[in-house]
Every structure is written in structure tokens, then in C-alpha cells.
Amino acid sequence: MTDERSSLTRRKLWSAALQVVAIILGVWLGMLTFGWLTS
């Protein structure tokens, strides 16, 4: 049971880290491509 919980916590942290990266990437790509679209 302890191994399952620690594995679950690791997966949650991995998911959270991925999503932080995805949000930063999305904002950056969005601003970059918007500039291309409207130039």
C-alpha cells in the first residue's frame, strides 16, 4: 500500500511538472505565432 501511494504521488508530481511546462510553452508559442499571423 505504501509503495502504491508513493508511486501515485510521483505520477502526480510528474503530471504537474508536465502541465506547468505545457502552459509556459503554450503562452510562448501563442505569442510567437500570433505575431507571425498579424505581421
Partner: protein, 239 residues
């Protein structure tokens, strides 16, 4: 690569791609409506008439494309994306309304052209802020916050079920040699489980044997009552 890592890799890719696309779409919508508001809030393109306020280059594509890309990204994120950790799908509408509402607030307070406060834009801003912020107020509880930002992904981790402990074994009834008769061994209930628990059919047979022993005098009334009570406590049909 273990069999358990393939779903994790697929889920991770879907999460990154989906959320990146959703945020990209939201960014295009925010910047597109901002550019639109700089030009007065309306624009037109195409058609046979002379357009009073033509759209700036790329604005229609940014606004419409932002909606489409954002929707596709959200579907990818919510579907095959990771189920544990932050589950931000429910926040997309608050994010949309609050970001657009902020544009209306900004240009409502200082509209382009310096014409003073724009009541129309501020009313729209108020509506958007209510639509975006209202649902967030209902989420200010531990359960919803946890399921949004630290989900357990219930379908991945089943609820722990504590197996029932082993049933107590059938007690060996003390044999007492009745007067003038041979001692009668007390057999355990036939067909019982490995832990000595009694099946329902065997329970009645065991009770009957106990009663016969009591009738023959092999068990005193107290011993009979005690053995009977212990046997009934081991009945697997009882809840």
C-alpha cells in the same frame, strides 16, 4: 520498457500537446480580441460593401483559429491525457471569460481615442467576470480543489479494500465421557473452509450434532450453549 510505462508515455504526450494547444488557442483569443478592441471593438472583412472598419491582418484567423485549436487541445488533454495530478479542464471556461473580461475592463476604463469611460465595455466586463469568476467561488472547498489540482485518478487506483480477516476456527468441544457410554468424538463441521469456518449447510449439521451430544449427556447445558454460540458466530451468512 515495461508494460506500465507505455500508457504513461502516451498520457504524458497527450497532456503536453493538448494543454499546449489549449493555452495557445486561449492566447490567440486574448491577443486577437485585444487587437480588435484597439480598433474600436468591431471589424469586417469580405463582402460586396465598402467596409468602414476593416480587420487588421490576421485577426480573424487568430480569433477563429484560437477557438478551433483551443477546443481540439482541450479534447486531447481531457481524453487521453494523464488522469492523475492537476486536472485543469474545468478551469478552461473561467480562464476564457476572465481573460476576455480583463480586456473589456482595460479598454472600458481607457478606451482608444481617449473618449472617457466606456459604459458598454464595462457592463460586458462585469458579465464576463461573473461568468468566469462565479464558478470558481463554488470550487473553494477541499474536495473540489483536490480533484482539480491533485486528482487521484480514481480509475487508475482502485479503492483499497481491506480483505476480511481469517475467521476463528471451530473450537474443539471438550469431550466428556458420559456415564455408562463410550466417549463420543466431536467432529468439526464437514466441508468447512481452510480456516475452519462452517458453510451454511454444515452449520445446521454441526448444530444438530451438538444437540445430540447434549441429549446424550456428553455436553452440559453450559457447554452446549457456549459451543452453539461459537458456532453461530462463525456463520459466514451473517453480516
Amino acid at each position: 520498457m515495461t508494460s506500465g510505462s507505455a500508457p504513461l508515455i502516451r498520457g504524458s504526450i497527450a497532456t503536453v500537446l493538448g494543454l499546449t494547444a489549449a493555452v495557445l488557442g486561449l492566447t490567440w483569443l486574448f491577443l486577437g480580441t485585444r487587437s480588435l478592441l484597439v480598433n474600436g471593438g468591431t471589424c469586417a472583412v469580405g463582402g460586396p460593401f465598402e467596409i468602414a472598419n476593416p480587420c487588421a491582418e490576421g485577426i480573424p484567423a487568430a480569433i477563429l483559429g484560437g477557438i478551433g485549436i483551443g477546443a481540439v487541445g482541450l479534447i486531447i488533454y481531457s481524453g487521453p491525457g494523464l488522469r492523475v495530478g492537476p486536472r485543469l479542464t474545468i478551469l478552461i471556461l473561467p480562464a476564457l471569460f476572465l481573460s476576455l473580461g480583463w480586456n473589456f475592463v482595460y479598454f472600458g476604463i481607457s478606451p482608444p481615442g481617449g473618449a472617457g469611460v466606456s459604459v458598454g465595455l464595462l457592463v460586458t466586463a462585469g458579465l464576463f467576470l461573473i461568468l468566469g469568476g462565479g464558478p470558481l467561488l463554488f470550487m473553494l472547498n477541499r474536495k473540489d480543489l483536490r480533484s482539480t489540482f491533485w486528482s487521484d485518478g480514481a480509475e487508475l487506483v482502485p479503492d483499497p479494500v481491506t480483505p476480511p480477516g481469517p475467521l476463528p476456527s471451530v473450537p474443539q468441544v471438550r469431550q466428556r465421557r458420559p456415564t455408562g457410554s463410550a466417549s463420543v468424538p466431536v467432529p468439526p463441521p464437514a466441508g468447512g473452509g481452510p480456516d475452519g469456518s462452517a458453510a451454511p449447510d454444515d452449520l445446521s449439521q454441526a448444530l444438530d450434532r451438538l444437540y445430540q451430544l447434549h441429549l446424550r449427556g456428553a455436553l452440559t447445558a453450559d457447554e452446549y450453549a457456549t459451543a452453539k454460540r461459537r458456532l453461530l458466530e462463525q456463520d459466514p451468512t451473517d453480516d
